[in-house]
Symmetry: C2
Subunit: 227 residues, 2 copies
């Protein structure tokens, strides 16, 4: 297994591993493997796979859509999504999103680190920032969408929509609104989307990263691999 | 309404409010009020209450017990507990807890700030750090305990215990284990406690703060004020 220059730098330059050292590796497709350093160089090297220690698994076919917030809290959303088990992360700019940019490469690297930290063998793809209106205009027929409407907080119908109407597994997405809530235009569009199911997350206003974990918990328990 | 020296310093020294300025205040017992600065001094002052803007509410009679982790993540647990709605926070030292100390005053201040941030009118008490074994030895008869057992992760029985056995409202506590899991002695004690119900939080290992939000979501949806 040849190593990229970046991986060789990390393993031999930063971590100071030498020939014969053993480590755990995963590539997102073949589970986790015990491996041994066969060759260690400044610009490359090779690993010898020994035995698979964790079989490959995939999280459910679930996307998490979220409006970027402040840097540390956006990082947190990415980290939590990896732990909770999502297949893909879609940052979306909404009418009330303050932060108009993301560093996709940084968030992708953060997702990989989060997977390493929590022993996951799968790293969700982090998409580039898209406009929510554009994503909804082109929404796939077969993918259901659970959106969390802050304006419905205070009502006592937690997840009434999702639980009453939605059925079985299949492709899903969970959409967490921006901290300022959705605009009226967005709300109209969402409530009009046949694939959409509204969820409310209790009587208190939650921060975006809290709402992400709470919504993913409800989804995983009801439709995902926690069931 | 007379102000403490600390509050006067914050309002008049830091925030630079003057006589006649209007603000929102809460004391944890009377909801949120619009108020006006009647007198502003260096060491004190008074506020004149105008009208109640939010009635007082209490979260359900739920304690969150957690083993302190690194500072930023412990702060996060406190913040999330306030958003999710708990009545009391109990930091507990377990056999595998690394951090043997907490700054109770700092965590209590953090809980107050979190309440201000999320518009809550209630601030949970943060207790001093206790030994988990001592807390369990003296566990109240009427308070049920949902504990999250990492060792049961990977099994597919998410919350089976809690959902199947437990009934209705009443006093509860949710216990999040330390990142290294419970010791065998603790696990034996917990499984032997008649008030205890085991919950599992999906097939992936969650960090403590993620587990706290996920467990509180399940509890609130099943037994609390999200139902």
């Amino acid at each position: 297994m040849p190593l990229s220059r970046e991986a060789a730098h990390y393993l031999f330059g930063v971590m100071r591993l030498g020939q014969g050292a053993e480590l755990s590796v995963f590539n997102g497709a073949d589970g986790e493997w015990d491996a041994r350093v066969a060759e260690a160089g400044k610009k490359g090297g090779t690993l010898e796979p020994l035995a698979q220690s964790v079989p490959q698994w995939l999280p459910p076919d679930l996307w998490l859509m979220f409006a970027p917030v402040k840097k540390a809290r956006t990082d947190f959303i990415v980290e939590k999504a990896v732990e909770m088990g999502v297949r893909r992360l879609l940052p979306v700019a909404t009418d009330f999103t303050n932060s108009e940019r993301i560093r996709q490469d940084r968030l992708q690297a953060h997702a990989r680190e989060a997977a390493e930290q929590c022993g996951a063998v799968f790293v969700p793809e982090v998409a580039e920032l898209s406009k929510l209106s554009a994503v909804l205009a082109d929404w796939p027929d077969a993918r259901r969408l659970m959106f969390c409407d802050e304006a419905a907080a205070g009502s006592s119908s937690a997840l009434a929509g999702v639980f009453a109407e939605a059925e079985g597994p299949g492709p899903w997405a969970v959409l967490i609104g921006p901290e300022g809530g959705f605009s009226e235009a967005e709300r109209t569009r969402l409530y009009g989307l046949p694939q959409a199911h509204v969820a409310t997350l209790g009587p208190r206003i939650l921060r975006a990263e809290t709402a992400a974990v709470a919504a993913l918990t409800l989804w995983q328990t009801r439709f995902g691999d926690w069931a």
